[in-house]
Amino acid sequence: MDTSSVTAEGSACISERQNSILTTGKSKSSIHCADDSLAGSVSQRACVFCGARVVLNPVTDAAHLVHGPIGCATYTWDIRGSLSSGSEMYRNSFSTDMKERDVVFGGEKKLATCIDEIMGKYNPPAIFVYSTCVSGMIGDDIIAVCKAASERHATDIIPVESSGFLSGNKVVGYRAAAIALMQLIKPREGDTVKKTWKLNFLGEYNLGGEKWVVERYLREIGIEINVAFTGDSTVAALKQAPGAYLNLVQCTGSMHWVAMSLEQEFGTPYLDVNFFGAANTAESLRKIAQFYGDAGMIRRTEALIEHEQARIQPVLQKYRKKLAGKRAAIYVGGAFKAVAIIRQLKELGMEIVLTGTQTGKKEEYDNLSTLLDPGTIIIDDANPAELEKFLLEKNVDVMAGGVKERVLAYKLGIGFVDHNHDRKDGLAGFDGAVRFAREVYVTTCTPVWSQLKATGRRG
């Protein structure tokens, strides 16, 4: 590695990472992404297990059993803001709590006992069993254990092959979760699920009740949600997934593969939608109505959009007055979210000066560049030093990101809005757009910033 350019304080830029950062309008080459992170980097990335866990956790009445040492279960215990209208089973944390002897002698027996105990105590309609680094490494055959337990209990005990070391990229974990979901919903031989006019809503996790918001809109235009993947879902509802007329795909990173699989297996077509921001919400509702092609539905959709826009636009305009011209940065998990946030911030008259994701794909980054003004920094798998450098260089006023970015932004005197999967406030739909604008306004324009003594940047 060439270290000649490294300064004494430690440069933000590692030469090997130059291709993971580009400036729109300036860089000719395309971005390097989906690479593995460098050894020794302070990455904001997670692991396969993390990806699988966030996708499946909102299945409310399933037990989620983590087969590994305690940490993996503790860190993922009820950390999503996914709400449930029924069972709270998913908010418990089950772990096989592997010990040294399990590592030496194998953990299969302990896993089987834990499954039996959970069935005895709770009798849940399904158990998801997650493999972790250790159980994967020592070669525990969780597929066999789950199969035997499924037969023993006549219940779906579904293995999720999510050993962390498989990749530092959460997307691999999304796939492991997707495979588990497909296994769960596959009808038993001879069984068929009756087709309906309802739709499935893929990549919707009901954070802060977002699924319920969209459900209300759809109901108003005359469509019912069959089941969401996986926000506020139940095992029984998921098993009805093949009966849908259409699949909506929201979070593409986690659910695109599921949509394709559902199309292949059950012939259900899918539509990409996005309910973040008023414009996106309107566009998505129109797309859905067009797909159904029903004149009454199209008319009701237009009426709904008109009514909702008339209600919220004056409020948004108020925030726009306060926020126009402010400079924003975005660093989130996936490109889907980045695109949604870019559009909303632009609707608020803000300037996007930095965008990045942990797990974006090349096509997604290409799409991002087309949305952004020349001179915007685009960055893949950023480390905090890089984020800090560009946040200061670009004189950012507010940042949208996740837990680890929040405290960094604050320390730099920069406002922060949470758009991560563990946020608590629903940001979807027309009301979500207002809530988002309010959040951006509150953090960008808080009077607390004036308490910061003149250090050049603020106050």
Binding site: V42, I70, R91, K121, M137, V407, K411, T455
Partner: protein, 455 residues
């Protein structure tokens, strides 16, 4: 969560449901942050490192930096030596810390990476250090990992320059908040004794907002200070789980007398801490500390009727719970359920002895327990108060019990990391929280005719 605990007691023998502990590397990472200019390094896959940083960040609400060996399948098959060596080289070149504190993960442990040898053959720039601790997550808990990293500081860094010791004292503070470490330092300053405290996360994880971001904040024990700890006369080691081992190693290695103490939570434990300093160095106890102690006793008398005789359930990290139980007994409360997630025999022995001495015979005490079990106990025979980490909030809601947040982690309230629970001032804070929790409940529940202005 209520419906998730069966109505009648059921046996729970295998695995954990709603754990009361987390894994070793988190503790090792926290301890490492208490060294000045240190970048903790997680030798394993990225997920662990991300989780530990996130968990610590959620509790402290300050940036937590750590690097990772970024294992992928290749490293898992062929061993992580190359990853660690590259990491060490990259970290010094890019992030330029004074010291890298490496901890392992269950992955590198299962592979069996030989860390001492890898570190020996790694490129370490002149004047920089690399230390390590083995922290397999399938053994112990985050407290074990914290203790291990403290030991690593001693065994790698502490040195004795000769037979004559300096008139200075080491303090191993245990897995406490930066606010606690500040308070320990204040008390020792008042006593007028020179102290080396390690680890010390004050001014690392409770830094002020200045609009400038310092990758390595001003706080933390410097490598030179930890080295010099070998020349101190004495070490006060707070907490048998988190600190006693490191003090023992320091005694063996450098001949520094180790004095094992409880965490200084509560009057007696704080007295013991102050008396230990007085006895060793022959200093006078200044009037200001005597006054603080008097204020605690005065407050206890002013408030004792609010909490005396109340049944209380306590859970959390062992050193915290041992010391707090002692204080609760001093307050006249009745700890009926006392639980920690961390394994180890000392916990049950110490707590049972304290409860026995206080004539409490029907209590349940358990190490390596989980919150499923605690909730079952509470469902069977209710308590008046629950004290523990944020994870207790599910039980508090389901069983409708007043709840005081105490220990690590606290994820749903703020300011805790800055406010000490150690020392006499810590006693006041605990009395305030416990009394208020009970009084808020009384105000909420009582009939209009029983609603009182003056309580």
């Amino acid at each position: 969560m209520l419906e998730c605990i069966p109505e009648t007691p059921v046996e729970h023998t295998t695995g954990k449901i709603n754990p009361a502990k987390t894994c070793q590397p988190l503790g090792a990472m926290y301890a490492a942050l208490g060294i000045h200019g240190c970048l903790p390094h997680s030798h394993g896959s990225q997920g662990c490192c991300a989780y530990h940083r996130m968990h610590l960040t959620r509790h402290f609400r300050d940036p937590v930096l750590a690097s990772s060996s970024s294992f992928t399948e290749g490293a898992s098959v062929f061993g992580g030596a190359a990853n660690l060596k590259t990491s060490i080289k990259n970290v010094f070149a890019i992030y330029n810390p004074e010291i890298i504190a490496v901890h392992t993960t269950c992955l590198s442990e299962t592979i069996g990476d030989d860390l001492p040898n890898i570190i020996k053959t790694a490129e370490i720039p002149e004047g920089k250090s690399v230390i390590h601790v083995n922290t397999p997550s399938y053994h112990g808990s985050h407290i074990t990992g914290f203790s291990g990293m403290c030991k690593a500081m001693v065994s790698y860094l502490a040195q004795s320059d000769g037979a004559t010791k300096k008139s200075q004292m080491n303090v191993l503070p245990g897995f406490v908040n930066p606010g606690d470490m500040r308070e320990i330092r204040r008390i020792v300053d008042v006593l007028g004794v020179k102290m080396i405290m390690f680890p010390d996360t004050s001014n690392v994880l409770d830094t002020p907002l200045t609009s400038k971001y310092q990758m390595y904040p001003d706080g933390g024990a410097t490598v030179a200070e930890i080295r010099d700890a070998g020349n101190s006369e004495v070490t006060l080691a707070f907490g048998s789980y988190a600190s006693h081992d490191a003090a023992e190693v320091l005694q063996d290695k450098c001949g520094v007398t180790g004095i094992p103490l409880k965490l200084p939570i509560g009057i007696k434990a704080t007295d013991d801490f102050i008396m230990a300093v007085k006895d060793w160095f022959g200093v006078e106890i200044p009037a200001s500390l005597a006054l603080e102690r008097g204020q605690v006793v005065d407050t206890l008398i002013d408030t004792h009727f609010h909490y005396q005789g109340k049944r209380v359930a306590v859970f959390g990290d062992p050193d915290h719970v041992i010391a707090l139980t002692e204080f609760l007994l001093a307050m006249g409360m009745v700890p009926v359920y006392v639980l920690t997630g961390t394994p180890g025999k000392v916990f049950e022995t110490e707590i049972k002895k304290m409860l026995g001495d206080a004539g409490i015979t029907n209590a349940r005490v358990k190490a390596e327990g989980d919150l499923f079990e605690l909730q079952q106990w509470i469902k069977e025979a209710p308590v008046d108060l629950l004290i523990g980490t944020s994870y207790g909030k599910y039980i508090a809601r389901a069983e409708d019990v007043p709840f005081v947040r105490f220990g690590f982690p606290i994820l749903d309230r703020v300011v805790h990391p800055l406010m000490p629970v150690v020392g006499y001032r810590g006693c006041l804070r605990l009395i305030e929280q416990i009394s208020n929790a009970l009084l808020e409940r009384r105000d909420r529940d009582c009939l209009d005719e029983d609603f009182e202005l003056v309580l």
